[in-house]
């Protein structure tokens, strides 16, 4: 394991898994939020399934 921490670059996504088992997705895009919804369907910060249809792909180069 490297001693130096990795620094996020534009276009990266960061997911942290804490000792408690909690998973943190840092500023996810829609695709990552959809994954999060599947993992944790009752999280109110995530889009409800019925409303995520036909949202299209985000236009930025991050995706």
């Amino acid at each position: 394991m490297k001693n130096k921490h990795y620094k996020r670059k534009p276009g990266d996504f960061e997911i942290r898994i804490l000792n408690s088992g909690k998973v943190i997705m840092i500023t996810p895009d829609e695709a990552l939020m959809e994954i999060a919804r599947v993992v944790e369907p009752n999280n109110c910060a995530l889009p409800p399934q019925m409303e995520i249809k036909d949202v299209g792909r985000p236009t930025s180069k991050t995706n």
Binding site: P10, E51, P58, T59, S60, K61
Partner: protein, 279 residues
Amino acid sequence: MNDMDSVAHKKAFERIKTAREALANCNLCPRQCGVDRTAGEKGYCGLDDTIRCFRELVYYGEESELIPSHQIHFAGCNLRCEFCVVSEWNEEPSAAEEINFDDTAKKISERQSQGAKTLNLLGGEPAVNLHGVLELLSRLDSGIRVVWNSNMYYNDIVDKLMAGLVDVYLADFKCGNNNCAEVLLGARNYIEVVKHNILNAVKNADVIIRHVVIPGHSKCCLKPTFEWLAAEIPDVKLSLRGNYVPPVSATSAPKEYLKPDDMQCAVELAGNMRLKLVK
């Protein structure tokens, strides 16, 4: 509330020229870099006059009265918060794609038809992208509630050119004193500037003060913030956020996550001061 009506569109259009002219000797924020962004020079925020967007999406994690909220993330910021979760885009805004205003305006309509209740202008920081924000607002053809999701660290020209175009100021109040602000945010005179702009915002539109609870900064940041709100604008809405993410290579920012007790104490303190908490 204007909900971006036709008068607001016209106002936005008329102000673009003034906003662009301000870039020639940029003093949009208290950094007062004085660079000529129209000639390709870049100041502290790293922006010339090109407007770049690094993400747009419908987000459900904002305050309940704002969701579903269509977020437009402008690249570039005039703060360097050590705990920023999009710092990579603020340090390197030129990595983001240049915005296409017409396409983005169409996207805003699409997102509205998909259920978005608000248009959420954020970053980075929208204030240092002022002329781009106005360009975008001038192109909208349907009423939508406009949310100015800002660090509030900007000069009066921003306030003047956005007056009447904002329905909700989602206003960060990050630190309760200038020492913490200088260390954590890299900002001088933070308190004076942010208080001034928040008081102006309250005169013009609905305001939600957003405070991220920072571990270990209860006495120095959270309490003074609450005290000021209680004394000056006791009826303002306050949103406490428990989503502090410790940076992996922090030098000054706390390295631990917020504990549930910390959040509970913050909520209780707000309640004791009769502040109007919103979720």
